[in-house]
């Protein structure tokens, strides 16, 4: 058993820095004109107006072919644009899933008809997707899902229930994974992905209030929903392979370690330019960790750009990154006692309260820490 993970160093090309300046200038202008205000992280701050505005600038679907509304830019350019938006606390939630996952899924496995139908409107920031994976009885054990699609005249009939489906109540479509044949023998076989129109007859979306009091995720029930045959994504029965092929994209980005970055900024604002030694130590330590995580994450982006599938490296980034974004509130609260209250207009207090309340979700969404560590253990040859 040989330990074999690899993080090739990456240097951002000059085009990335020009783009970075553009994005920063846009964010500053748009904020001044009231299009957005910082709040929450990538999963909570939802604004169609913002998504349309950045779609108009070509910052959604940046890496996609021009004929589908993309810009044919590199993964590293996409990385820079997204990190600038995330650290600013910009409202990216509306287009986030379509940009990061659904669009690339259709590009890779979708039909030409599907690409033409969905990609250009996604890139314009007008068409929003969510992902139907978890079910009441299936969380980390995705292969155990029971939502099923049966073949009927002209397509499929969908029955079942999904939960924790972020922004289903504000999205147009849900990429839904379900069983199209029973799990006999190979439980990873017989799963398929569909584009489900959330306005279709038989779809019920019920918001579920989360711990922080927000209505971000939902229960989605499918009751004899008719799916036209042309809404099947990729091959029937290949759903497991299709889902797992995209994990490195989903798990390695800046959204896996900057969720509480704005708290670090507000902490720095509170302690000022000449902090006491305890505050300075915390600031220095957290910054060194953030620097390391960003270099790891950029390295994965570089490998993705080179066409590799660094799933092990992505799992390392996500688990380490989630622990970091959870540690920020735990550390700064000790240095600014009684800070986690809401209702005032103190930005530090507001940000700390939000970070504490959202922190439990960091190590659940996109793969729990236990699942990630299992993937890492497999990468080490232990299982």
């Amino acid at each position: 058993m040989a330990v074999s993970f690899r993080f090739d160093p990456v240097t951002l090309p000059p085009a990335c820095e020009a783009l970075r300046r553009e994005v920063r200038a846009f964010l500053a202008d748009a904020r001044a004109s009231g299009i957005w205000a910082p709040a929450g992280d990538f999963a909570t701050n939802h604004s169609p107006a913002f998504s349309r505005a950045i779609g108009a600038r070509g910052w959604i679907g940046m890496t996609w072919p021009k004929k589908y509304g993309g810009q044919e830019r590199s993964m590293l350019e996409r990385y820079v644009a997204t990190e600038e938006m995330l650290v600013a606390g910009a409202p990216v939630a509306a287009h986030w899933i379509a940009d990061r996952q659904s669009g690339p899924l259709l590009l890779r496995f979708g039909t030409e008809e599907q690409r033409q139908e969905f990609l250009p409107s996604i890139a314009r920031g007008e068409c929003y997707f969510c992902i139907g994976m978890s079910e009441p009885d299936s969380g980390s054990d995705l292969a155990s899902i029971r939502t099923r699609a049966e073949r009927v005249e002209g397509g499929f009939r969908l029955n079942g229930r999904k939960v924790w489906t972020s922004h289903a109540h504000r999205s147009h479509y849900a990429i839904t994974i379900c069983r199209t044949s029973p799990a006999d023998g190979d439980r990873h076989a017989g799963l398929s992905q569909f584009i489900v129109d959330l306005k279709a007859k038989g779809v019920t979306v019920r918001p579920i209030k989360n711990l922080a009091g927000n209505l971000d995720f939902n229960e989605v029930t499918f009751d004899d929903v008719f799916l036209p045959g042309n809404r099947l994504v990729g091959a029937e029965g290949a759903g497991w392979k299709q889902v797992t092929s995209e994990l490195a994209f989903e798990r390695s980005g800046p959204e896996r370690f900057v969720s509480t970055f704005r708290l670090l900024v507000e902490f720095a604002r509170r302690v000022g330019a000449n902090p006491d030694p305890r505050a300075a130590e915390a600031l220095g330590r957290l910054t060194a960790h953030l620097w390391t995580l960003r270099r790891m994450s950029l390295s994965v982006a570089g490998m993705l750009q080179a066409g590799e599938t660094p799933n092990l490296e992505a799992a390392l980034v996500k688990d380490l990154g989630n622990a970091f974004e959870r540690e920020i509130p735990e550390l700064v609260r000790l240095l600014a006692p009684r800070g986690s209250r809401s209702g005032g207009n103190d930005r530090f207090e507001e940000t700390l309260a939000e970070a504490v309340l959202h922190a439990p979700s960091f190590t659940l969404r996109g793969g729990t820490r236990e699942i990630l560590r299992g993937i890492i253990a497999r990468g080490l040859g232990l299982r």
């Binding site: 058993m1 160093p9 220095g284 060194a288 620097w291 390295s299 380490l320 560590r373 990468g379 232990l382």
Partner: protein, 346 residues
């Protein structure tokens, strides 16, 4: 971890000569002459380069070499001699052959060079100098001045670190003539030398961390309890996954600091790397020892050659808390809204 030609060469050399037996013999007090000669003949000691031009083009190679040395717990002042030779050349002084001791004025030590007429007075005390007792010469970096002292000419009090490596205290009270002293440019003053020392030590640690993880993974696959290899237990898998995360972070921190060219970038990156690797060391040592059980707590297994070094090295060239303080002040001075722009260009 891209395998460079330098890495391959160094890996082979240390695997052949820095054997667990040789490391133990060194700890017992035998100078590993054969290993030293091989390192010198391979040209490793001049890997940093260093002429009047003074670029650090060789930093990547130097880091690869000391990383390999760290994997094998090579008991020699390789990083120190590299840095001392580079510094002497950088200021136009001839470095003596053989192992060198390096004393850098920094947070821990005060060393002073004072002009007395045409000569110089070198005084002060420096603690924990690697292999001062074996060194053929001493290179001192203080403020913007460098002195080369042959032979070492200090009062040496022999001490050891946790791994039994010589870490001697030296007291300096010497008169030097002008040919032994030179002014250092900004990119080779004591602060820069200290940061380079931190980076090279971090690289050694990254190597030792990789090897410690590899030993634990191998051991978990071999050791059978309850009828199966302990690698099959989730409790062990999850712990080793955590160790792997730390080893990965350590490797990236070092590689990223190497990529940070120019001394102003190094001001953040070297310290950040040393801090990050130092934290990884504590966590990884904890886990690899737990996985090894009692055998890892003995001299019958070589794990201790790595972990005792890691526990020592994390204290050298800046303990984590010292770097955290320095970096924190640097970051705070950017202003809250300056933190991201500061990081984004690194």
């Amino acid at each position: 971890m891209t395998e460079s030609l330098v890495t391959e060469t160094a890996e082979r050399l240390f695997a052949d000569l820095a054997t667990p037996e040789a490391v133990n013999a060194a700890e017992a007090g035998t100078w590993p002459a054969e290993l030293w000669n091989a390192v010198a003949e391979a040209g490793f000691l001049d890997a940093l380069g260093g002429d009047a031009g003074g670029t650090l083009d060789g930093l990547g190679d130097a880091v690869d070499i000391v990383r390999a040395a760290g994997r094998h717990a090579a008991p020699l002042p390789i990083a120190e001699t590299m840095l001392a030779r580079w510094l002497a050349r950088r200021v136009g002084l001839a470095p003596p052959e053989g192992p060198l001791a390096l004393a850098v004025e920094g947070p821990e030590d005060r060393v002073e060079l004072r002009r007395i007429g045409v000569d110089w007075q070198l005084s002060g005390m420096a603690r924990g100098i690697p292999w001062a007792r074996n060194a053929r010469g001493l290179v001192v970096s203080t403020g913007a001045a460098v002195a080369v002292v042959v032979p070492v000419g200090a009062v040496i009090e022999p001490r050891k670190n946790l791994a039994g490596e010589p870490r001697d205290d030296i007291t300096l009270d010497l008169k030097l003539d002008a040919r032994s002293v030179a002014g250092a440019p900004m990119d080779a003053d004591a602060a820069v030398v200290y940061r380079l020392g931190a980076l090279l030590r971090a690289a050694q640690m990254a190597g030792a961390l990789e090897e410690a993880l590899q030993l634990a993974v191998t051991y978990a696959g071999d050791r059978v309890q309850f009828g199966r290899p302990i690698a099959k237990f989730q409790a062990i898998q999850q712990q080793l996954a955590l160790a792997a995360e730390q080893v990965a972070a350590a490797g990236v921190a070092v590689a990223s600091a190497v990529a940070a060219t120019g001394s102003s970038d190094l001001a953040f990156a070297a310290g950040a790397a040393k801090l990050r690797v130092g934290e990884a060391a504590g966590k990884v040592c904890d886990i690899v020892h737990q996985v090894h059980g009692a055998i890892g707590f003995t001299h019958e297994h070589r794990l201790h050659q790595l972990t005792r070094r890691l526990w020592s090295w994390r204290d050298e060239f800046g303990i984590e808390s010292a770097w955290a303080l320095e970096l924190g002040r640097l970051v705070a001075s950017q202003g809250a809204d300056g933190i991201w722009p500061f990081l984004a260009q690194r």
